[in-house]
């Protein structure tokens, strides 16, 4: 299944290729623009084609991601999903208060994280052991902050506040707080 690591790999490849192309294009332009012109300018047709291309690109990006990134659909239609497990988490005074020392879930569980802030705006993110991000959301006081995540493989995840909440916020880390174990292991 597509996970955040795979999405970011795809993004890295696509953006790197784009960067190389655009840098080469500007370098080519800089070289050519100092050379002799034949008195001809750019045809308007090329201009309109370029604008059409940008329009298609801008719109199709979101259509493609909506249909290929699994959590995009879940995220926009959270109320339609019934989570397999729910965790209510409170944040206050720069501390995460978790329902259990370790939150254990099964592979293939859809898990609801419902996070409430008692004072400031924080962030809530899950990170892999190599520090890469699984997902994150903002935690705004006075509002419901919930995310449903489909865990499709075993792993251990660290919680980290992903929003600045003052200098103390840098230490808001709960190591190995979420453990994803093979299917049915906890049932």
């Amino acid at each position: 299944m597509v996970d955040s690591e795979m999405v970011l790999t795809g993004q890295t490849i696509a953006y790197t290729i784009y960067c190389i192309v655009i840098i080469l294009l500007i370098a080519w332009f800089a070289w050519k623009v100092t050379g002799n012109g034949n008195g001809k300018g750019i045809k308007p047709g090329l201009f309109y084609a370029f604008i059409g291309f940008l329009t298609v690109l801008g719109v199709s990006l979101h259509i493609v991601t909506y249909n290929t990134i699994p959590w995009a659909k879940i995220d926009l239609n959270r109320s339609d999903y019934k989570p397999d497990k729910s965790f209510n988490i409170t944040v206050g005074d720069h501390k995460f208060i978790l329902p259990a020392e370790k939150m254990v879930v099964n592979v293939n569980d859809k898990v609801l994280f419902d996070v409430t802030s008692e004072d400031l705006t924080y962030g809530f993110g899950l990170f892999r052991e190599d520090n890469s991000m699984l997902f994150q959301m903002q935690v705004v006081p006075g509002h419901r902050n919930d995310v449903i995540w489909h865990f499709d493989r075993p792993g251990v995840y660290t919680i980290r506040s992903t929003e600045y909440s003052g200098p103390k916020g840098a230490a808001m880390i709960v190591k190995d707080a979420v453990q994803v174990v093979p299917e049915n292991a906890t049932k």
Binding site: T12, Y15, F29, G37, I69
Partner: protein, 539 residues
């Protein structure tokens, strides 16, 4: 000429500050102060980068976050606003072929922006007030973490900058619409309509098209100034709100922070802030590209009418894109995320792409061009936005934002490349182009140093953005500290690129000082001896 003589009198002694008009002095003061604040920002950036790698004994953790708070604000207000205000206060009357409405007001703009920036920077430096530029409620009023007095001075400093900005906007619109003494009465309403795009819009439905009364770059400045005005109102209102809590705390009243809805506040504040990032910056930059392309080629702009219309579209788009900053806020309505956050934001790819194409096509039509400093920096600026805008469009996506928000990706390939490479290189292009006009024919001291400046800035800016982006894709957050060296490799590489930027800046600064001489630099800040409203001395 000996080194000492050049250092004192400038290259070939050509720059004579006593020949400068008040307008030239005003613009040069803005530029010099803007560059000094840019130096602040580069040094602050380097200090933070080093601290990310290894904690420095002379910087405490609260101080690190105070620098993190001041860094973007000094960069935007102290540096960019200064250079932009100085340049546009000169260019708008220059293109309208009439004097600035009020040099006095221009001087007050300079004082407020320069002084205000120093006040908020200094109060942050002393008190470590560090709610970041985002000011997410109720952090700016959290006096268990921050000094209330430090915060008060900080907010007052920002308010002073905003007052200076308001004076700039008044001066720009009055300059466009007023009739100078002794001139035939100008139609101020028609001028304003033309500047804001109403004439162009109405032309779409008219058989007999009305002519445009203001040049295209002036229309860009006017439309960008609308965003600037709205943004100034937003920031001033927010500042007053925060000050109410601060004054309450000073007087011993503990005002309830929950009286303000944190999400509504976040929407309001991002709507205002985004009028800078996705509004006036893009509009001003597009207008500056057009002006530079026309001045470099001495030819009319490719697809002028489309460019005018696009500036109007950009203005409307800038009012409706703020929600891409709230894609990770789960209480934000889904419709706002999709329509404002994704779809309208994607329009920026079109409007900015259009400005990119029009500028390149204008240059292309004038081949062969000489690779002058303005041209090479303009191409650098175009490249910067060509790299940074798609990076921003990617993160303005519901799916991708879930794994990119608040990572170094956002601030690296998008923000730093847009500001350092796109915006700053565009401004450098304008500075190199205007240098002989503003200095009455002074010569650049060393072309070799100008080349060092160009390459160090370009490679340093792109490289820094790239390594920050790689760190972000690997999970490194912005606005935090990693104490176990998790991302040291990327941060060291980014620091090396930062060093290139610093070298480039020092080469430029030294080149400018050697071009005008120390006497000349000091002369810029003395009262003008030529008493005239003219922009440049009469030949």
């Amino acid at each position: 000429m000996s080194f000492t003589r050049t250092l004192i009198n400038g290259e070939e002694g050509l720059f004579k500050s006593e020949t400068l008009t008040p307008m030239q002095k005003l613009t040069l003061r803005f530029v010099v102060v803007g560059l000094i604040y840019f130096g602040f920002v580069v040094i602050e950036g380097m200090l933070m980068r080093l601290y990310e790698v290894k904690s420095l004994p002379f910087i405490t953790e609260p101080q690190f976050f105070a620098i993190l708070t001041a860094h973007p604000l000094v960069g935007i207000f102290g540096s960019t606003y200064s250079i932009v205000c100085g340049a546009f206060l000169f260019l708008v009357p220059f293109l309208m072929k009439k004097p600035l409405w009020s040099i006095k007001l221009g001087n007050w703009t300079f004082i407020f922006i320069t002084g205000g920036t120093f006040v908020f920077w200094f109060s942050g430096f002393i008190s470590h007030y560090a709610p970041l530029y985002t000011l997410y409620w109720p952090l700016p009023a959290d006096f268990s973490q921050f000094s209330v007095w430090g915060g008060t001075f900080f907010i007052v400093g920002i308010a002073l900058v905003m007052i200076g900005t308001a004076l700039f906007i008044i001066n720009i619109f009055k300059t466009i619409t007023y009739t100078p003494d002794g001139w035939e009465k100008q139609r101020s309403g028609a001028l304003l309509s033309s500047a804001l795009g109403v004439t162009g819009f109405n032309n779409l439905f008219r058989k007999n098209k009305k002519e445009h009364l203001v040049p295209l770059p002036v229309a860009a400045v006017a439309r960008g100034s609308v965003d600037m005005a709205l943004n100034t109102i937003t920031i001033l209102f927010t500042g007053v709100l925060i000050l109410v809590y601060m004054v309450g705390s000073i007087l011993g009243y503990d005002l309830k922070e929950t009286a303000i809805d944190a999400l509504l506040y976040k929407n309001w504040f991002w709507w205002g802030l985004d009028l800078i990032a996705d509004g006036l910056v893009l509009i001003f930059v597009a207008g500056t590209w057009y002006l530079l392309a026309m001045m470099i080629t001495k030819k009319p702009l490719f697809m002028q009418n489309i460019a005018r219309a696009a500036l109007l579209v950009e203005l409307v788009v800038s009012w409706t894109v703020w929600s891409h900053h709230l894609l990770s806020d789960q209480a934000q309505p889904g419709i706002l995320k999709v329509v404002s956050g994704e779809m309208v934001t994607a329009f920026e790819l079109i409007t900015q792409g259009l400005a990119f194409f029009i500028t390149l096509a204008t240059l292309w039509g004038a081949r062969p061009l000489k690779m002058t400093n303005p041209l090479k920096f303009l191409l650098g600026g175009l490249l910067g936005f060509a790299l940074a805008v798609p990076a921003g469009i990617m993160q303005a996506d519901v799916g991708l934002n879930r794994i990119l928000h608040n990572t170094q990706w956002v601030v690296g390939p998008h923000v730093h490349v847009a500001v350092l490479v796109g915006l700053t290189m565009t401004l450098y292009s304008a500075i190199y182009l205007l240098f002989p006009i503003l200095t009455n024919g002074a010569k650049i001291y060393s072309q070799k140093l100008a080349n060092v400046h160009f390459w160090c800035h370009l490679l340093g800016g792109i490289g820094m953005g790239a390594f920050m982006g790689m760190a972000g894709l690997n999970g490194m957050l912005r606005r935090t500290l990693y104490v176990n060296g998790e991302f040291n490799l990327y941060m060291i590489l980014a620091a090396l690129c930062g060093t290139l930027l610093l070298i480039g800046f020092l080469a430029f600064f030294y080149n400018v000082v050697m071009s005008v001489g120390l006497k000349g630099v000091l002369g810029i800040f003395t009262p003008a001896m030529v008493k005239t409203k003219d922009l440049v001395p009469k030949a």
